[in-house]
Each structure stands twice: as C-alpha cells, then as structure tokens.
C-alpha cells in the first residue's frame, strides 16, 4: 500500500450549544498522512487550532476501534463517512486525495439535540432501552447456563442483532430521523432468545411508544438505516419488530405492564 500526504479543506459545523444557532466554518489542514484515521486528522486540526489560540472542534469519540458507538460524524452526506459497515473512527484518510473538500456535520435529528459542534445528545436511546430493552432477571436467579439449549441459528441471529452499538447512524441516515432500526435490533436480540420470551407481549409496544415520545420519526421502510449501519444490522429486524408488535396486538392486548 502506497502512503501519501495530502492537504484538505474542511467545512465543519460549529455550534456553541443547544440554544444557539450554528454555522459552517472552513479550515485548512496540511500534510495529512493517508495512514491516519479520520479522527486523527481531526486531532491534527484541533492541535493546530489550539496552537493558534482558537477553540478546537468538539466531537464525540472514545474507543477508536469501532465498538463503543460514541463517534458520530456526518461526512459529505454520509453517516460515518463513505465506507460501508464502518464507524468514523475506523475511516482512514487513504479514502481521500490531495485537495479534497470534506463537509462534516453533526447527526441531525430533533431527538438528538446538538450539545456542541459535532456532539449530540443521544440519551433518548437509553430511555428507549429503559422502556423494555432488557430481560427482567435479578442477579443470582439464574439456572445453569447449559440447562436451556438454544438453536445455534437463532443464537447467531440474536447475536447479529445484539451487535448494534447504539451510535445513532440509523437515525442520522433516515430521512424521517426514525430510530426503528435501533429499536428493532434490541427487540430482535431479545425476542430470538427463550429468555426474552416472557416479556415479548409488552416489549415491542413499550419501546416503540418510547421512541415516538422521544420525537424520533416513524419508519417508512426506506432502508437508508440498513445501508449506513456500521454493524450491518438488517431490515429483517424491523420486520421482526413488526411481527412482535402485531403479535402483541393480536394476543396480548390486555397484557400487564404496557405503558400508556
């Protein structure tokens, strides 16, 4: 792999806090190595800004290995940038060439208000989980782990759904700013396991209801979420969520524990 250096123009969204209006600002960075990650390029820019006595750009990031779900940039119209099944921290600069202009925006959704610059508040996701994204088992109540065999295929599907990192790219990419892929991943993860069965009748409804309350849009089966999901969570999960929902509607209309 041939390494090279490049100069770039960045147009980055700057916004002081949730109350003020934001605007784009242009920055130039030079001598960016093709081996850098996208966030390392931002580190270089921020170092440059600090040395110039300016305020650096705030952006969320933590593990920088694509698993914590903290990083969140909308890069040239794409959530987490142009690579498929990828997070921003894993996007590398060999994607770009000398002279490129890159526009970087925060996740935009009213349910994800901007905290500062590229940082948004995703606590709505936590509240959706609080509405039912769990199995109600207290510590110490478990039977032997192998007492209940689980069909490998189902376990694998459940794992695939559970690999959601809660980054919010689905919301960012969805023209409706819907969080349905996120909700469906959690509902699927739990619905596919026998342990999740007792709470099936209430989980789908409660979580969807919370999603609506948070101000996310509704799903119209467009599919941009699936295309941008860094973990490849499939639309099949939304189909499963819908089945769970309909199942609850048809059989469990009087189930205890439904919110509302």
């Amino acid at each position: 792999m041939q390494h090279y250096n490049m100069n770039l123009t960045l147009k980055v969204w700057k916004q002081k806090n949730s109350k003020t209006k934001g605007a784009f600002e242009s920055y130039k960075v030079s001598n960016i190595s093709s081996e850098m990650s996208f966030l390392e390029m931002f580190d270089v820019l921020n170092e440059q800004l600090v040395s110039e006595g300016k305020e650096p750009i705030a952006f969320d990031h933590d593990c920088r290995e694509g698993i914590c779900g903290m990083c969140s940039m909308y890069i040239n119209g794409r959530a987490h940038g142009p690579w498929s099944q990828n997070t921003t921290c894993q996007l590398h600069m060999r994607e770009y060439k000398d002279g490129d202009t890159i526009v970087v925006e925060p996740w935009r959704a009213d349910a994800f208000p901007v905290i500062k610059d590229l940082v948004v508040d995703r606590s709505g996701f936590d509240r959706i989980i609080q509405a039912g994204g769990y199995i109600s088992v207290n510590t110490g109540n478990a039977q032997d782990a192998n007492a209940l065999p689980i069909d490998k295929q189902k376990a694998d599907e459940s794992f695939a759904a559970a690999s959601c990192i809660g980054c919010g790219a689905c919301v960012a990419a969805c023209p409706n700013a819907s969080a349905m892929l996120f909700v469906s991943a959690k509902v699927s993860h739990l619905a596919l396991l026998p342990q999740g069965d007792p709470e099936r009748k209430t989980r789908a409804f409660n979580m969807v209801n919370q999603m609506d309350t948070e101000g996310f849009g509704s799903c119209t089966n467009i599919g941009a979420c699936e295309a941008e999901c860094p973990k490849g969570i499939s639309l099949e999960n939304i189909a499963r969520l819908n089945r769970e929902y309909i199942g609850s509607m048809l059989s469990g209309s009087n189930a205890e524990g439904l919110t509302n």
């Binding site: 789908a204 849009g217 941008e228 819908n242």
Partner: protein, 222 residues
Amino acid sequence: MSWKNYFSTSIGKKLQMSLTGLFLIVFLLVHCYVNAQIFYNDGGVRFNEAAHFMGTNIVIRITEFGLFGFLILHIVQGLSLAMKNKSRRSNAYAVSAGNKTSAWYSRSMALLGTLILLFLVMHISKFWAPNRFHQLTTGEEMNLFTAMREEFQTLWVVAVYAFGCISLAWHLIHGFYSAFQTLGLGTSKYKGTIKSIGVAFSIIIPLIFLMMPVLFYLHIIA
C-alpha cells in the same frame, strides 16, 4: 390496552398505511381486470356488462364505501406522517446522501401519492362522479365505454393519465414491498420474492391501465 393505542404509535400508523395500501392494491387488481375487458375490442359489450355488475351489485357498492374510507385514511395518514416525519429534522443536512443509501421513490412516497391524488381527482370527476350522478338522477348507468372513447381523444387527458400511471408505478414499487415489510414478512426467506412480485405488479398493472387511454387515442380500440 385498546386497539386505538396499538394503532396510534408509529408502527400502528404504519400498519394503517400497510393495510389500507394492500386493500387499494386489491382494488387496483379488480379495477384493472374489469377495465381490461375493453381489450376485447367488442365495442364495449363485455366491458359494460362488467361495469354494470360493479355498479349495481350490492356487495360491491357497500365495499365502495370502504374503498373511499380506506383511500381517504391512506391519504390523510400518509400526508400527516410525511409532514410529521419531515418535522423530526428541523435543521436539514447541507450535504445529503442522495441515492447512495436509498432509492428516490422510497423517499418520495408522499410526493408520488400527491401526484396520484391529483390524477384521481380528475379521474373521478371524469368517470365515477358523473356516472353515479347519472344513476341517481335517471336510475340508469352511463355508457362508460363511450365515455372513455370520447375522453381519450384529447391528447392532454391521455398525457395526464400517462403521468398518473407512471406515478402509480413508482409509488407501488416501494408501496407493495413496504406493505408486506410492515406486516413483518420482509424476512430473508420472503423478501426477495415479495420484492420481485412487487416490481412485476408495479410495472404490469399501471402498464395495462396506461394502454387504455393510449389505445383509445390511437383508435386501436374503437
């Protein structure tokens, strides 16, 4: 927990769209079958027979109320969802993904639906409304075949119909699959089949509809 609660969440509303949409798909099929009688090119004999049946059969007439009810629900719910969804992102992106992550027609269902609605207004005012009025006032149906033959002599009318059919085709390409996905059938096992049938349906049915004004205009059906 009432049905109302279940139908008022975002999935509930999506289910309304799906179920009314599927009903409209069935309606399209029936409508298409009846109208396709004109292709016998028998001066409208078979077509008028079928139209007479549709216009006088009590079950069909009652279903017609349902049809309008569902149609209105589909329109109102669809537009309200579209507006609400639009409002969920008050600050738009400066750069959008465009067609890289989704299909334009999937994102444009409200627009396509509105175009179809405009077309429908004209369509209903040309055939359905006068016919029912005629029925009410005279107790007799109009000769719809003759009405069609006359209407489709005007180029702009044919053009509007063509436009309506094309809008319908795009609306269906997303709508057909989407209705089944909403019912939870978009699994890896069925998704491919549903999509293929959906695409076939979305092309064939509007195409048959489209052929009617065109063939009249070209005097191939007379």
